[in-house]
């Protein structure tokens, strides 16, 4: 299999996102705003905020990725590109894989880059910030993979916007658990690295198997 069509899809999606830069900016704003409204909800206590900051950042990333799910295949479905992709000379799974990687680059990467802003406002230690960024890098591919499955299943629903997150949230809980555990400084010896390894394992497995599930769902949807 030549890598050319794969790269073409990947670059196309990233280009499309960079042309309509507003979407990326909106998502980053949403991410930061979730972090900013939390102090209003629980008070500006420095100790408290610093201790829950990793959780807040993970929640913000979690919710932002749920928000991004809907536009995963929607545009391609509506303008018929998805139908054309089914007749491409590479498999639909490979296309789904390319789109997953593209989605990670255009939605999650900007959030991770914006993380230091939130870290500063939530009084995070530098060491914890580094760990949070590492855990986000390790865990978010799985979030995107599950999100892709949800998006593929609900793509033909006109009111699919709310249902995909509801389907994806419960099965994404392990990612959140291991993501947070891999940051905790006061966890027992070895627990952090174990959590990190589990997180990486889930991400790798999800990224390998999700493209097949996505391709299957897209194919069944258009039968």
């Amino acid at each position: 299999m030549s890598m050319k069509p794969f790269n073409a899809i990947l670059i196309r999606d990233i280009k499309l996102a960079s042309r309509s830069f507003g979407d990326v900016l909106t998502l980053v704003l949403f991410f930061i705003m979730i972090g900013v409204i939390i102090p209003f909800a629980i008070g500006p206590n420095k100790m408290l905020l610093a201790s829950i900051a990793p959780g807040i950042i993970w929640m913000a990333a979690f919710l932002s990725s749920l928000l991004a799910i809907d536009r995963f295949f929607r545009a391609d479905f509506e303008d018929g590109s998805l139908l054309a992709m089914r007749h491409a000379n590479i498999s639909l799974s490979a296309i789904a894989f390319a789109k997953l990687i593209a989605l990670w680059v255009i939605t999650i990467l900007p959030l991770i880059i914006a993380t230091p802003i939130l870290a500063m406002m939530l009084f995070m230690d530098f060491e914890i910030l580094i760990r949070t960024i590492l855990s986000l890098l390790a865990g978010t591919p799985a979030l995107i993979a599950f999100g892709g499955i949800g998006a593929a299943i609900t793509v033909s629903l006109k009111r699919g916007g709310l249902i995909a997150p509801v389907l994806i949230l419960p099965i994404s809980i392990p990612i959140l658990i291991f993501g947070i555990s891999s940051i905790k400084a006061n966890a027992g010896i070895g627990v952090e690295s174990a959590a990190m390894l589990f997180l990486i394992a889930i991400s790798l497995l999800a990224m390998v198997f999700a493209p097949f599930a996505i391709a299957l769902a897209l194919r069944l949807d258009q039968e």
């Binding site: 299943i153 609900t154 009111r159 249902i163 099965i171 809980i173 555990s181 599930a213 299957l216 949807d221």
Partner: protein, 260 residues
């Protein structure tokens, strides 16, 4: 009319025994004779089980009378997982053999599973209040059961949001299987995260309970399992009949349009 009926007979002859059993029309015929016996067995099992549970089983030396909640709690917790298993098997049937009966089985199982899971959680919190001193605790098993309930409710919501039930079945089958793969991971992760719930008393190495408690428990587990089977078959019959009614309605509407 006669010609069409003989054609159906011919296709019926060509089918093997499994296709015959699973053909929706045939299913309606043979399952009719199952409903009453299954109902009677279920009622009998419940009568015996409840009598044991209320009058003929000892109090626990620590928990006292509250131990009797177990006879409802454990069977429902077992069925909350069993039903998902049944749903996942039906999902394979939908995807591999594209069989309409598998679609129907999958669709009907979801609300049943949600109900069993909700009862397991409810009785669990009733039991937890006197024994642990709290209605809810973020313990591994309880959390995993709660997540399972959300998965059931999500699947039900997804069934409701599709108009075309045939297309819905295939897509939901994909999601059901993705969920089935995830259930062990979820269980493992929440156990790893926090654990308070007592571990299972029934394991391959033996049963950590006296017979006076495990006999009524097993009777109640059979009773609830038969309840599930009965409700599942009745639900499948209703769903098939509903689809037939829908098809007839659509047909008559089309004919009216042609005439009018």
């Amino acid at each position: 009319m006669k010609k069409s009926s003989s054609a159906t007979e011919q296709t019926l002859k060509k089918m093997n025994w499994f296709d015959k059993l699973a053909h929706p029309g045939q299913f309606l015929k043979w399952s009719k004779y199952l409903v009453l016996p299954l109902t009677i067995i279920t009622i009998l099992l419940f009568t015996i089980g409840l009598w044991f549970a209320f009058f003929n089983s000892p109090e626990d030396y620590q928990m006292g009378d509250t131990v009797r909640i177990m006879y409802v709690h454990v069977p429902n917790a077992w069925l909350s997982q069993f039903t998902y298993m049944a749903m996942a098997v039906s999902a394979i049937g939908t995807l591999v053999w594209r069989h309409p009966i598998a679609d129907v089985s999958m669709k009907v199982a979801a609300p049943l599973g949600a109900a069993f899971t909700a009862i397991a959680l409810f009785t669990g919190s009733l039991w937890g209040r006197p024994t642990w001193g709290t209605f809810w605790e973020w313990d591994g098993r309880m959390t995993a059961t709660l997540i399972l309930l959300f998965m059931y409710l999500g699947l039900i919501a997804l069934w409701k949001s599709f108009d075309d039930q045939l297309r819905a079945a295939k897509l939901i089958a994909v999601l059901t299987l993705v969920g089935a793969v995830n259930i062990p991971i979820i269980k493992f992760s929440v156990d790893w995260w926090n654990t308070l719930h007592q571990s299972s008393s029934i394991s391959p190495s033996g049963i950590a309970m006296p017979p006076s408690i495990y006999i009524p428990l097993f009777v109640m587990m059979f009773a609830f399992t038969f309840l599930f089977i009965t409700l599942h078959i009745v639900g499948m019959r209703t769903e098939i009949l509903r689809r037939k009614a829908d098809a007839l309605e659509r047909k008559s509407l089309n004919q009216n349009e042609k005439r009018g």
